[in-house]
């Protein structure tokens, strides 16, 4: 863990003012919730606080958090893009420190931006989080951790980085579709319901709605555990696959 605290501080400073994190962590989801929520306002009666803004807030925050995996692919190789890879190779910094200094600051930043987004949705759109903002933040932290770990894993370990990096958004979009991020898919039948289980966003969205609207926390906890375990798995794999030479 040599050099971790220095790299962590540097990572936090960079991420918190990273224009991509701000754009895709706050601006884009806010716009998406506003547009789609307004667009579908005729479909929801708003009874019991379940309005179109409520639905799209609940599904858009996890979707945009998952989408940050794409940003992490580039962050994973930023030393290479900034042409400072040689310094990292010479410096006495451990592999674990380098990998964790990418994943942890990004996860913390995503969680902070998700909190900002929740406050915006609550104050501007009147979205009712049923007093469960802290629990939701824990889930977003876990999902953010998984997204950052997957993005870092792809960025650091892909041999054909140029080919892979461009297509990560496509599976994310498919996962989002299966998770009901664009429209509810519950009416599509048994086959889609079964297939949708492969999407972590399906577990996350289902867990959130069951927790907030039916008071059932089992799926919510499963979603936290699954995303966190996947996050740890991809972090370990990122460390194992990482060679400092990829920064060259």
């Amino acid at each position: 863990m040599e050099g971790f605290s220095t790299l962590f501080n540097l990572g936090m400073k960079k991420r918190i003012k990273d224009s991509f994190f701000i754009t895709y962590g706050i601006v884009f989801p806010t716009l998406l919730i506003l547009i789609v929520g307004y667009m579908t306002s005729n479909f929801y009666s708003g009874e019991e606080g379940i309005s179109s803004y409520y639905y799209y807030t609940m599904v858009t925050i996890p979707f945009c958090t998952f989408l940050q995996a794409v940003t992490l692919i580039y962050i994973a190789r930023e030393e290479s893009n900034n042409k400072c890879g040689e310094r990292f190779i010479i410096a006495p910094i451990g592999k674990v420190s380098v990998v964790l200094s990418k994943i942890i600051p990004s996860t913390i930043t995503i969680t902070i931006y998700n909190l900002v987004l929740m406050v915006i949705c609550k104050l501007v759109l009147g979205v009712d989080f049923r007093g469960r903002m802290l629990e939701l933040l824990i889930l977003y932290f876990s999902l953010g951790f998984m997204s950052c770990a997957i993005g870092t894993f792809i960025g650091l370990s892909a041999k054909d980085f140029m080919a892979v990096k461009n297509f990560v958004s496509t599976p994310v979009l498919i996962m989002a579709l299966l998770g009901g991020s664009f429209f509810p898919i519950g009416s599509l039948g048994k086959i889609v319901e079964t297939v949708s289980n492969v999407s972590p966003l399906n577990w996350v969205n289902r867990g959130i709605f069951m927790f907030l609207n039916d008071g059932e926390s089992k799926t919510f906890l499963i979603a936290i555990v699954i995303t966190f375990i996947l996050g740890i798995f991809f972090t370990i794999y990122s460390v194992r696959k990482f060679n400092k030479e990829v920064f060259l």
């Binding site: 991509f20 716009l31 789609v36 667009m39 479909f43 009874e47 889609v192």
Partner: protein, 336 residues
């Protein structure tokens, strides 16, 4: 000649990395086929949840004899989330006052279903469901329109990735060298554009051929689908070129293309029919090229019976050409 040379160079460059070429070619095809598969099973339907089956099996049998209607026993503990996630259009339960109460998140849906239930209680017949299904059918997007909407969204993103060769060429200094040659920069831009256009059309063609081999209905004949494919390629490659010309970094281009394409698709009615949007958004949707693509799809399905059917393709052409011209204009700084 310059355009051809750039086109040829793009083609030869793509052949250098076979793995990248296969990924670039196949992933959008898989996404398009997947979206068509999902869309082909999305038909207007009514799924009713019943708690403790208050109306008995007779209601279930009579309702399910109508095509598109399903009656399922609902789990009371997860009823709200299952309605939110769209599993049930409405839920019927017996209240403590011995009344049959219908609950739905869509107020436009609640009343008609309540009327059907009340009518069943008094007459023993399930009446009025067909009218609701017909109305839903008329108001919803057809399979082809949905498929076309998702195809253009996917290909707008992947076309940008192909057009990002321009950003890489700028970083490697190729554009600077081209600029001091006797060739004009618009030849380079058009060469990249033509390669992207052809590549996208090949992707769509493969997807159409594969879909036509699968037992999947897409609601349009293969010939017309190829025409739609050509229009989608035209839109997607123009969009990709514009984003690549406006962006300095690949990451920026990739993320901007995903978000702008999604917003255009949303405004254009690719997910939600324009007729069901609030008035202000209906007017705003005229600015989205995806709306005109969906209008063109309707015209193609109807067989271009009136002269007005050609208006969408004229608007699409003008918008796409404007995108190409803007790309050429804004590419000046890339060649500096």
């Amino acid at each position: 000649m310059g355009i051809y040379l750039v086109f040829k160079n793009e083609f030869l460059r793509s052949l250098k990395s076979k793995k990248k070429l296969i990924i670039t070619l196949l992933i959008p095809i898989m996404a398009v086929i997947f979206s068509m598969g999902i869309n082909s099973i999305m038909k207007p339907s009514i799924s009713l949840g019943v708690i403790d089956n208050p109306l008995g099996n007779d209601f279930k049998e009579k309702a399910e004899s109508i095509r598109g209607v399903k009656v399922k026993e609902a789990n009371e503990d997860a009823i709200n989330s299952e309605m939110i996630l769209g599993k049930y259009s409405a839920v019927i339960e017996l209240t403590n006052d011995n009344l049959f109460k219908v609950k739905s998140l869509d107020s436009n849906f609640e009343k008609p279903i309540q009327n059907i239930v009340d009518s069943y209680v008094s007459s023993g017949e399930v009446k009025g469901v067909e009218e609701i299904l017909d109305k839903m059918e008329a108001e919803s997007l057809s399979i082809t329109e949905r498929a076309v909407g998702f195809m253009v969204l996917t290909l707008m993103i992947t076309s940008t990735i192909v057009a990002c060769n321009l950003i890489r060429d700028k970083e490697e200094g190729t554009l600077k060298r081209f600029n001091i040659s006797p060739r004009n920069r618009f030849e380079y831009i058009l060469g990249v554009y033509l390669y992207n256009l052809l590549f996208t059309f090949v992707q769509i063609s493969i997807a159409i051929i594969l879909v036509s081999l699968l037992p999947m209905s897409i609601g349009i004949n293969t010939g017309d689908f190829f025409i739609l494919g050509a229009v989608i390629s035209f839109i997607a490659s123009s969009f990709g070129l514009l984003i690549a010309c406006l962006s300095n970094e690949e990451l920026k281009a990739s993320l901007v293309s995903s978000s702008v394409a999604m917003i255009l698709a949303l405004f254009g009615g690719a997910f939600i029919p324009i007729g069901k949007m609030p008035d202000a958004l209906q007017r705003l949707s005229n600015g989205s090229i995806v709306k005109w693509l969906i209008e063109f799809t309707k015209s193609a399905k109807n067989g271009f019976v009136s002269s007005g059917d050609w208006i969408p393709i004229i608007i699409i052409s003008l918008m796409a050409l404007a995108g190409i011209l803007l790309s050429i204009k804004t590419s000046r700084r890339k060649f500096a």
